[in-house]
């Protein structure tokens, strides 16, 4: 079925991915080592993330909870992992301000991880007493059933701040419009390109695509993670060069696309 190259069964058509993956790994390792030595990596301003502090502060002033939605997908999607990392940063702030944090989850594995992450953040801030396991809980796996469960929380608990991070599908607008109706400050970040337009229209700030992945680095400023951000930027520069050189070569008949 698949063209074999030798007895080991190495698939010859998959060389490009192998090279690309190893190159990215190399970039990451190199930049982590470099940022360890001097940790002053510049990161451009991302307004949605600058606003996180203020948004949690506002909920504190109003005496209302903060709502965090970690997306619709399970832990095997890296977008969810990025969301959970941001959750850790948000939880550290709600612990500091002594503000209630609600995290209803759709996916049971995400529920588990979110509980661990929130508890760890509360412990690290010295406030393990404030952590309420019941506020980080599984609702239901049904897509739209989950969406109206969240809608119900927004209408009745009236959170002053809503965070939407991770991967989303059609239900995104049900949640974001309801949050808009209740007058909450809303910050979203997703790598689901089909849902970005709705978050942009209904939220105060929206992180677009890769900005979601930069989010936890931006908030934590951990040198180890800053290095990987730099590596991603280098990879983008390589992609741009590949786009330009490849186009030049194909357009001028120097080289034919395989």
């Amino acid at each position: 079925m698949i063209p074999l190259q030798d007895a080991t069964g190495f698939q010859a058509t998959r060389w490009p991915e192998l090279v690309a993956a190893l190159a990215l790994a190399l970039l990451i390792v190199v930049w982590i080592v470099r940022t360890r030595r001097s940790s002053d990596v510049f990161v451009r301003r991302i307004p949605g993330l600058e606003a996180v502090e203020e948004a949690v502060g506002r909920a504190t002033e109003m005496g209302r909870p903060v709502l965090f939605i970690p997306g619709m997908d399970s832990m095997d999607e890296t977008g969810t992992l990025a969301a959970v990392n941001i959750l850790g940063q948000v939880a550290a702030r709600t612990a500091r301000y002594e503000t209630r944090l609600l995290v209803p989850c759709r996916d049971p594995i995400v529920t588990n991880v979110a509980q661990e992450v929130v508890r760890a953040a509360y412990t690290a801030e010295g406030r393990p007493d404030l952590y309420r396991a019941d506020d980080v809980r599984y609702e239901t796996y049904g897509q739209f059933a989950y969406a109206i469960a969240v809608q119900g929380i927004m209408l009745r608990e009236r959170p002053a701040t809503n965070f939407f991070f991770g991967r989303y599908y059609a239900e995104s607008l049900i949640m974001a419009e309801t949050g808009n109706l209740t007058g909450a400050i809303q910050i979203a970040g997703t790598d689901s390109d089909s849902q970005l337009p709705f978050f942009i229209c209904a939220c105060d700030y929206t992180l677009i695509g890769e900005e979601l992945y930069a989010g936890s680095v931006y908030l934590s400023r951990e040198p180890r993670l800053l290095g990987t951000l730099k590596a991603q930027d280098m990879a983008k520069a390589i992609v741009i060069v590949a786009l330009l050189l490849g186009s030049l070569a194909t357009a001028t008949h120097l080289w034919t696309r395989p």
Partner: protein
């Protein structure tokens, strides 16, 4: 009017959900609470049946497929979460779930989301496509590059970088507006579907019976 009890139940819940558009009310809240319970129960049964019964019990008991028992062991570790002292055991299951797929994602995301997209953006050989198509190809290339510049994090977006990044936002906004406009069509179709159900199947006043 329909004489089918199921249609009446379905119509009741349809209207209950629509009532939330006016405002939160007890009927809506009843429907919402019921749906959360019913769907949680539905998925529990589905996964218990397809994952634990069909993927674990049947293959192990009938076909002696012992390899799956290890999955069963990982599954048991999950239950460690029920007690504080055994909680950490569940980390094996979580680390497995996250890392196993990560290993597969590295090359597959590289291929589908990066390499193939680069190849798809390269220009066609000069003279092989009509002028209009060639202009579109160049615009596409410019758009993709400027958006990548917008995502560049470790430099201040000033000067040439700033110009390119603003061009990137322009492409993004046009694209978002287009997807938004396009999606409205599908959403209205869903609403039409609910009205056709209410008028045709429940009240029986629509011009069609809603059959195939």
């Amino acid at each position: 009017m329909s004489t089918d009890l199921g249609v009446w139940v379905a119509a009741f819940f349809t209207l209950a959900i629509f009532s939330s558009l006016y405002r939160d009310n007890p009927v809506y809240r009843f429907a919402e609470s019921l749906l959360v319970g019913v769907s949680a129960g539905y998925y529990l049964v589905q996964y218990a049946y397809s994952a634990l019964y069909k993927k674990l019990w049947i293959p192990v008991v009938q076909d002696q497929d012992w390899g799956l028992l290890f999955g069963g062991l990982l599954g048991l570790l999950v239950l460690g979460r029920l007690h504080r002292r055994t909680e950490w055991l569940a980390r094996f299951a979580i680390a497995f779930y996250v890392a196993a797929w990560a290993g597969y994602l590295i090359p597959s995301a590289m291929k589908a989301q990066v390499l193939e997209q680069i190849a798809g953006t390269w220009l066609s050989p000069a003279g092989s496509v009509p002028l209009g198509a060639a202009v579109n190809e160049v615009l596409l290339l410019v758009g993709v590059i400027s958006i990548l510049v917008y995502f560049y994090f470790s430099r201040e977006h000033v000067g040439a970088l700033g110009v390119a990044s603003r061009l990137g936002i322009t492409f993004l906004m046009l694209g978002f507006g287009a997807s938004f406009g396009y999606t409205i069509m599908g959403r209205i179709t869903l609403l039409i579907g609910r009205f056709q159900f209410l008028f045709d199947r429940w009240l029986g006043i629509g011009p069609s019976s809603g059959g195939v």
